[in-house]
Assembly symmetry: none
Homo-oligomer: 225 residues x 2
Amino acid sequence: MELKNKKILIADDEPDILEIIRFNLEAEGYTVFTAKNGDEAIIEAKKHLPDLIILDIMMPGKTGIETCNLLRINPAFTDTIIIFLTALSDETTEIKGLETGADDYLTKPISPKVLVSKINSLFRRISKEESPVLHAGELQIDRERYIIIYKGEDIILARKEFELLALLASRPGKVFLRNEILNQVWGTEVIVGDRTIDVHIRKIRQKLQLDCITTVKGVGYKFDL
Amino acid sequence: MELKNKKILIADDEPDILEIIRFNLEAEGYTVFTAKNGDEAIIEAKKHLPDLIILDIMMPGKTGIETCNLLRINPAFTDTIIIFLTALSDETTEIKGLETGADDYLTKPISPKVLVSKINSLFRRISKEESPVLHAGELQIDRERYIIIYKGEDIILARKEFELLALLASRPGKVFLRNEILNQVWGTEVIVGDRTIDVHIRKIRQKLQLDCITTVKGVGYKFDL
DNA sequence: CTTTTTGCTTAACAATTTGATAATATTTAA
DNA sequence: TTAAATATTATCAAATTGTTAAGCAAAAAG
């Protein structure tokens, strides 16, 4: 299962529905929060700032539509995807929902597969601008943001360190010769001493606190795990 | 009737359906093109570059799904909204459609009102992404009025400062190289000294009283939080 | 039309970070 | 065991950025 790193909040007064949806979305790798009514939904939304909110229309207290209106007032939720969930296949309700500022609606009974598909599809549209990230186990190398993420922690490397690590991690397992490293990271023009690479390798190992670079004596270095 | 200035292409082999949809969308102010099958749809799409394409799944020759796949290969249509239209409420087809890269689907018989609502809603989401007001936490950047609002307070930045901040904030987290910044804010013609960017960055930091621009030494600057 | 203000750029210098090296210690392979 | 290769550490020069003030040009005000 891939880690989606997206937060979804579901508000419905029927616990069964909540759990079915939660189960399916968590199986897809989403992080799920739940709320039993509109007021709770607003509180949870402010707390977790989810990327997507599923609101049942018929709930005790505030309806999904009212909840949506209240959320949309807050600038923090103008970009949040909001979907309505309703037992009514009533046309008027559908339209009201969309005009209110929801992004889509789903009618109950909803098949989990369709739900998940629809949500993936909505995220696909939004997340076109995601940065190119190199994943290697728990390690993420974000070229665009120029940071390393290890177990959720941001690690900042200096330029040479970053590029050296990015090079090695670009092909896990491959041994890079010292010459290859020099050419790729320093360029063919620059000439640096023998120990320069070692020192940078050391700094990476130190900052990452993780044994992911293996020395192959007489040959070079490789990234693993 | 408002002028929507959006182009929609509809592909369906049933002339009645085409006309019903055309009528309703034109009444909403959209410009509508039609096609009788998948091949025609591709030709029309290339000719008019519509903002949204409605594809019937069951068509003689290419199916809507095949047509969608062919369109998505072309970079010109990666951002185009594609909706499937189908008489089948068959789940499998639905899912195939969404996984194919369609943004939504509609099942026939479809009420014109729901169709129009759904389309408006999809456009609303897209146009939000191009909205002149950029939200980043408590910070609002109004590109139209050249104004920054932070926690309700208006902050006035000079043009260059504003454009620099707007650029950085347009993709929070992304590191902009000094060259990128120069090209985007100053243009490729103008050549300015080394310290110019720094001075503007400093003024932004000073006026905003907010630590939102991070220096990545040797690389560039990025906006965060 | 002149004065004042504002915005942009530059220069000069300070502060900071980075990267390379040298010196020394440790490890590894034959 | 021993020579070669690599690790470690501290140090320093170079590269990079931060800061400030000053000079102009254009816009705004008088």
